[in-house]
């Protein structure tokens, strides 16, 4: 009789926590790529040249 409420509760929990976990892991991977890209960008290289000047 109460099964739909119980299954819905666990489904909501898994979907929300699973979604947050996936978003966080994908966000970390994207940030790593962005960070690696920015170290190679001309702006950064100019900035590092300026630091040496």
């Amino acid at each position: 009789m109460y099964a739909p409420y119980i299954y819905a509760s666990y489904a909501v929990t898994f979907i929300l926590l699973g979604g947050l976990t996936l978003a966080s892991l994908r966000g970390l991977a994207a940030a790593r790529r962005l960070n690696a890209k920015s170290t190679r960008s001309p702006v950064t290289q100019d900035a590092s040249h300026n630091e040496h000047d």
Binding site: Y2, Y5, S9, L16, L17, N35
Partner: protein, 245 residues
């Protein structure tokens, strides 16, 4: 003891050192969180029906830990904000910003599962009683904190404004916690307390505590992951701006 905490805090104020620690801890914390949650779910699958609530008592094992974590995550953001504003710890704002979506999700889970538990037990999805309303306010404070970070373009200003909001909004945490004692509410008072014997039978108490530990480990695993993400994003932004933050 306080000196040791201060020394550790000062040592990891260097984001580079923190990144090394976070990378080393990430896999073990994730692994432990999944293991404890797996054990917790196994225990939940084997709990007997409650003599009053029947099988709906199983909703408690996600609803109550989510509600605990909603308050814990906000307390974490409060201390991170105080650390950032008063002690100017460079990781304070990073920690606060990283924990906010996690706290918001736990609060949303507590609200939805509470509603799904309320319908069969109370005969209604929602009542405007003190506990439910104060948790809804907590959810809106989380959303406001997240929105403030997004709304202000200057990173330093956004960080200060969000930290002030987090500190002001912390007034709601004791209201959520003690609302069931201060007002007559449909929501029941706390069943698990540090100061009194738990009102729960061990058949329900132990799975609940295991799920609580699992949710806590999941919070730390997610926070570690998101803090690394924030630090890397900030680093890339600083580089893109040619060294200016």
């Amino acid at each position: 003891m306080l000196k040791t905490v201060e020394n550790i805090s000062a040592y990891y104020a260097n984001p580079q050192r923190f990144m090394r620690l976070a990378q080393a801890l990430q896999a073990p914390v994730w692994g432990l969180a999944l293991l404890v949650l797996g054990v917790g779910l196994y225990m939940v699958a084997n709990v007997p029906d409650d003599y009053q609530q029947g099988s709906t008592v199983r909703i408690m094992f996600v609803h109550v830990p989510a509600a605990w974590m909603a308050l814990f995550a906000y307390s974490f953001i409060f201390f991170a904000s105080v650390t950032a504003l008063i002690f100017r710890h460079p990781l304070g704002h990073v920690a606060g910003r990283s924990a906010a979506p996690i706290g918001a999700v736990f609060t949303l889970i507590a609200l939805i599962t509470g509603s799904l538990w309320g319908q069969p037990m109370w005969g209604t999805w929602w009542v405007w009683d003190a506990r439910l309303t104060s948790v809804l306010v907590l959810f809106f404070v989380y959303l406001g904190y997240i929105a403030l970070w997004q709304a202000i373009e200057d990173h330093g200003q956004a960080a200060r404004a969000a930290a002030i909001l987090a500190i002001v909004g912390s007034i709601n945490v004791p209201i959520v916690k003690f609302s069931v004692d201060w007002w007559n509410t449909l929501h029941q008072p706390a069943s698990v307390s540090r100061f009194a014997r738990p009102a729960l039978h061990p058949d329900f108490l132990y799975p609940l505590l295991v799920m609580g530990v699992g949710f806590m480990l999941l919070f730390f695993a997610l926070t570690l992951t998101r803090m690394q993400m924030e630090i890397l994003r900030q680093r890339a932004r600083v580089r893109q701006n040619g060294g200016a933050a």
